[in-house]
Symmetry: C2
Amino acid sequence: MRTGHRLLALAGALAVPLAVSAQDEQPAADTAKSAYTLPGDIREQAVELRDSAAENSRAFETVTSLTTEVGNRLAGSAGDRAAVAWALLKLRELGFDNVRAEKVNVPHWVRGNLDAEIAAPFPQHLVATSLGGSIGTTEEGIEAPVIMADNMAALKDMDPDDVGDKIVFIADPMQRTRDGSGYGKAVMKRVNGAAEAARLGARAVVIRSVGTGNSRIAHTGITIYNPEVRRIPAIAISNPDADMLQRQLATGHDVTVRIASTARYLPPAESANVIGEIPGSDDDAGMVLLAAHLDSWDVGTGAIDDGAGVAIVTEAARLVGEMHGKPKRTIRVVLFANEEFGLSGAKAYAKAHADEIGDHVLAMEADFGAGRVWRLGSNVPEDQLPRVAAFARLLEPLGVERGENGSEGGADIGPLNAKGVPVLAPVQDGTHYFDWHHTIDDTPDKIDPAALNQNVAVYATLAYLAANLDEDFGRVPEHAEEPGFGPGSKQEDEDEEKASDGN
Amino acid sequence: MRTGHRLLALAGALAVPLAVSAQDEQPAADTAKSAYTLPGDIREQAVELRDSAAENSRAFETVTSLTTEVGNRLAGSAGDRAAVAWALLKLRELGFDNVRAEKVNVPHWVRGNLDAEIAAPFPQHLVATSLGGSIGTTEEGIEAPVIMADNMAALKDMDPDDVGDKIVFIADPMQRTRDGSGYGKAVMKRVNGAAEAARLGARAVVIRSVGTGNSRIAHTGITIYNPEVRRIPAIAISNPDADMLQRQLATGHDVTVRIASTARYLPPAESANVIGEIPGSDDDAGMVLLAAHLDSWDVGTGAIDDGAGVAIVTEAARLVGEMHGKPKRTIRVVLFANEEFGLSGAKAYAKAHADEIGDHVLAMEADFGAGRVWRLGSNVPEDQLPRVAAFARLLEPLGVERGENGSEGGADIGPLNAKGVPVLAPVQDGTHYFDWHHTIDDTPDKIDPAALNQNVAVYATLAYLAANLDEDFGRVPEHAEEPGFGPGSKQEDEDEEKASDGN
């Protein structure tokens, strides 16, 4: 996955299932089909665990508890603090050991209020939301003519004389796919649209929501400014509102949009990675890490992103802990702080645990909703492929096929993978994920409890196997950690206090 | 339909397809199966019209024009005035004759701003909207404990000692059905919930949205106070928010909700019924009336409710006018003012045209979205049933079956039907209608242009037949007009200026 592609470098902040991007570049897993047979007793236990978890787990109870008692929990917010408190209590209640919060410094951006409307030729209110990290406007707002770019490529080709002092509207819609690949294509306008439009002299950028829903609900998510170009406000409008704006532009009249926003940064805040363990019987055998992120965007209740992940990994570990006898290796659950707004928790964990990276035998993350797992990706050494193939065969009754060996496994465990930790990457069905994620619609009614249990069964089975097989998984080649471009990065930390008026 | 059921009396304000409620009470249409054969030339023309309209019409263009250039248009609003201007221009542009606006006095309620949240035990923002006609609150709002009623029946049985000074939450969800029958069951809490809760001493009422969508979008619609009980604020919360509130209540903690609203009445305003005609060749043959309503709720763009109806009846009449030779009878299109908030336009039309009611040979209305027509209801004299059966057979290739003879045809033509005018009632597929109607999501992307054309084909075929057959349709028995309980009624006109603080 060491490509120079900026999207991949940003993957942490984007939560794209990375296995997808790698499909075309990686050797198929079945090139290494030499036989591996699971030890009979372990196989038997794993099958029993798999089948009972798929039938019944507490995962849905956990995600409804988090969304009901905490709700949304953007880094630095009151909800973020409440989530840390919730997680400490919940992990203890579920029987985890060594439950603790490890401090993480996080940026603290607030959305404030946003009013957006088409002012002319036909006045209409716009359902809109600020992009994460966007600056606001002055009180009177920005009112300017709109110029449309079909997509980012078209924007890059535009003449600054045409764009200057206008509001740029980037119009391309996202395609619905099972593997989420439509997201990678559509999201660049959210990440880089403001920077690019600002370079051309625009006063603000309006993007069509990077989402597949046809509800009049706008999708947020991080936007990343270019430190060398002044910042401009960046907002997303819902798909039906984007259609409306395009129809008004198609009338041939000049179209004017007005935006007034109080989005802004507050001083950085403290959050925490919350950790709990199912202790292993062999202190020298290392540990298996299961990851999800505890934070969410500030607009929904963080049910599919990533309350579901929190529930899946927590429940998977708990179920292994419920089995007869301790696992050989410790299973460590880490609920990471601030994935959405700069991967602060992932970076802090990798730093704080630098001395014990070698003890991480394997890592897995759940951060793509609650759709059924349909593929098992990985990033393990070549000689481990027969073992992963055997794992995948064990998951076949759950509808899981073997995928590629080209995954980084997820945003929060990326830094561990970069330091050589092998990863397994169950890939969830993302057909409907982008209808809801990063919106007010991220609520637990969007989760099918049976599909959630299937996820638990997959993660529990893999965690059990990884924790109990005698041999570990070796190491993957280390590689330089991607620098990250989110607000958690150094450049952004310096920038975020700068005054800006958005005009 | 002369039942004493309050729901039916209110039907105008509710836009329930009335044929549905009447199903069980009316004789089946096939009890009168004596043969009727359409004259060959008329049948031939009708088939040609049917098939060409189904293939191609301007209806989708019309509804996107209305939603794009006007948007929402609640009675009395600036959008309402813009809609009247739009309709006059559009009918002239489409070639109608005698295009005119007939003045209608309308109430003018404004939604203002609404903030609603669960304040305790677990603070969460609520996606909510005021019900139409609701009073607002004082600036500081209302904060009170919540008591839940499973439904209206449960509320009626409650003890005032339990309800007093609380906020009542009415929780029952609406069932999805093709014929819209779930609406009639669920909507009574919206119409009467505030009056009933106020009678028991509540400070405000919160209802689960009367809609089938799982988006975090709240449904509005009229609420009707009891003139003998003080008014209390009435709001709806989205289905996922209602789930959330129920989950918090289920924790056993006391739940407190806060509501602050600036909803209020402004002085009554002027609007208009907009009328256009396709003149007939025989001045003495009477006319066929096609109806839709021009107003909409103030939250979406009024695409399915009732921009689609405007487009369907306008296009149906235009296509008849495009045929070789004038129709025998005049086809009059009436785009009614203020259906949603008290049927002002329907009442004004019936009054202003009292002298020519006898000239209305037949009336049809389109006000149930843009789903395919699947049934042809009617309210015609018994001896006309063979003719309607012949019409229905002609529509079979469009997927239309013959329905019952128990319809009033729709809210806006109800007063005409009450005075003896026969009606035909094409029934549209309402499976998804209640996902979107009365919400911000009522936008033209929810309309399938092919289904809209099928509607046009049905209405055009029926209008052509009704306008060209030699014999008229007789008269149905006159009946007393239902008094109406909306803000357009006299009692409400007197009440609406009263000061009220909502506390």
